[in-house]
């Protein structure tokens, strides 16, 4: 019985030594990493309460940072979508007749900076107003039509810069027949600069939240290190290098980051799904082309990757510092 087993041993050994090349060593190394990666996952799952606590707090921090990002990127997109509807409204003087108005429209159409001009006559304006405002009956009581004719001027697509639009507007404002020239863009520009400021603040906040994630991982790993103090000491005593001792903790840091990242991604996506419906209705109401921007695959990967990296960084910071303090005794 024993000799049979020994033969088997020998056979396996020769087989192994044949394969022992560089490739074999690397694949062996990878295999071992995979094993210890899974081992540290099981270890985390073996203490579900502690793990869940840390992961929840981290996931919340990452969710906050991620939501900020989503908020800003969606606001940017919203503003941009508004911008494509940019137009200049010319409210004409009360005394201007529809004929005069359409003549002005003709003139403007000849302007090379202008793509299109539509005329809303006094009657059309009134009809529209009656229909949408709900003041129909009250307006019926009015004598005459208080509303001016309006020319809606759509500048050429090539006019992208704000100053070009402003120039065009000033030019039209100078027309005698024009009472007020109003650019629907003005508040959009203002909004854009607000969003820029907000995105800076968000960047700062996100950095703080990232730091928080590093600290939470570090703290969790620190207490785990204390719990496994004996193991660290004994491993050192039997000739384990610091790298060998570090690895499981770095893996643990990775898992903390990774799991919280995935959780945060889920929460963010769920939140977006929840507001997608109502937002769609709102968007329809404003005749906007706006569509809610979900996290792309790239962004999702980045989110989870960053979370994992932060976890590893937190673990590394603590382990590399603490391990030097552990003296085998």
């Amino acid at each position: 019985m024993k000799s049979v087993k020994q033969n088997k041993d020998l056979g396996a050994n020769t087989h192994k030594s044949v394969r022992r090349g560089n490739e074999g060593r690397i694949s062996k190394l990878l295999q071992r990493h995979k094993v210890s990666l899974m081992a540290s996952l099981w270890r985390l799952l073996a203490t579900p309460y502690t793990t869940a606590m840390a992961v929840m707090v981290m996931a919340i921090a990452i969710t906050l940072a991620g939501s900020f990002y989503v908020l800003v990127s969606n606001s940017e997109q919203l503003v941009n979508s508004l911008q494509t509807g940019k137009q200049i409204s010319l409210f004409l003087e009360g005394g201007i007749s529809d004929q005069q108005a359409s003549k002005l429209a003709q003139e403007l159409r000849a302007n090379e900076l202008i793509e299109q001009v539509t005329l809303i006559t006094k009657q059309q304006a009134l009809a529209e107003f009656k229909q949408y405002s709900g003041f129909g009956v009250a307006l019926n009581a009015l004598e005459g039509n208080p509303l001016p004719a309006v020319l809606q001027v759509y500048p050429k697509e090539t006019l992208t810069e704000a100053y070009q639009l402003k120039q065009l507007m000033a030019q039209m404002q100078n027309e005698k027949a024009v009472d007020i020239a109003q650019m629907d863009m003005a508040w959009v520009t203002r909004l854009q600069s607000i969003i820029q400021i907000v995105s800076r603040v968000v960047l700062l906040l996100s950095s703080l939240l990232a730091l928080a994630v590093v600290f939470i991982t570090g703290n969790t790993i620190r207490s785990e290190l204390q719990e496994r103090h004996d193991e660290v000491v004994v491993t050192k005593l039997v000739g384990g290098t610091n790298t060998f001792i570090c690895l499981p903790f770095l893996y643990a840091g990775f898992w903390y980051g990774f799991i919280s990242g995935v959780l945060a991604w889920l929460i963010i996506s769920l939140m977006l799904l929840m507001i997608d419906g109502p937002l769609g209705q709102l968007s329809l109401l404003y005749q906007s082309q706006f569509q809610l921007h979900f996290l792309t695959i790239g962004e999702s990967a980045l989110l989870i990757f960053s979370a994992s990296a932060l976890g590893i960084i937190g673990a590394f910071a603590v382990v590399s510092q603490q391990l030097r303090l552990v003296k085998p005794e």
Binding site: R32, T235, L237, V238, G239, G240
Partner: protein
């Protein structure tokens, strides 16, 4: 293989634990290290394994000067040693198998080879069949033998044993001594710290005797 040259060890506020210790052990030599409690036996062994650093003097292990050794090299020194601790230093949340496998695991040895060697080591200390038990489920003597198996599993060049038979009955003690003698036969240097007069009288080997940190009788 092992040379102490005028070695001193002073603990910060406990005075000299070792003073002016000089001796030499060849490859394949086996010695007892004796002395009263607190004489410095464990301290001497700790210096060899770099668990403590000497305060003064020169210490050579397998040709390496420990005074010049960097922290990064310590693990590789320890892989040449088989350490048996007075307090066993077992991991109670790991099976007997995993405890004994640890010195091999840290070297990156393959699982198949590890399993083979661990079983061989457990066989030598008479614990084959208890691989999957946890240390707390075993008796004091059995726990001590886990520690011994762990010390010999990596085929060390030097075995340093601190009271290896403290919890063993005469019969088991004799078995462990036979095991050490087998290792000595194949060229392993063995140093055994012990109070066990009966053991010393039964298995005759040279003695290093410590008294208050000094070697007093090198050849008894």
């Amino acid at each position: 293989m092992l040379t102490f040259d005028r070695v001193f060890k002073r603990y910060p506020d406990a005075g000299d634990a070792l003073s002016d210790v000089s001796f030499h052990l060849d490859k394949g030599e086996m010695r007892y290290l004796t002395g009263h409690s607190g004489a410095g036996k464990s301290t001497l062994l700790k210096l060899i394994a770099m668990i403590e650093r000497s305060s003064r003097g020169q210490l050579l292990v397998d040709g390496q000067n420990l005074g010049q050794m960097r922290d990064r090299q310590i693990p590789f020194l320890r892989r040449k040693l088989g350490l048996i601790f007075q307090d066993y230093k077992l991991l109670f949340d790991r099976t007997v198998f995993d405890n004994v496998a640890l010195p091999l695991l840290v070297t990156g040895m393959g699982q198949y080879e590890i399993a083979r060697r661990v079983r061989a080591a457990l066989d030598k200390v008479g614990l084959l069949g208890k691989e999957n038990k946890y240390p707390l489920a075993l008796s004091g003597g059995e726990q001590q033998r886990i520690g011994i198996a762990r010390a010999v599993v990596n085929k060390p060049a030097i075995i340093l044993a601190d009271e290896p038979t403290g919890n063993l009955d005469p019969e088991l003690s004799a078995e462990i001594m036979h095991l050490f003698e087998q290792f000595k036969q194949v060229g392993v240097t063995v140093l055994i710290a012990t109070h066990d007069i009966e053991l010393i009288s039964r298995f005759d080997h040279k003695i290093l005797q410590l008294e208050h940190g000094r070697l007093i009788n090198q050849h008894a």
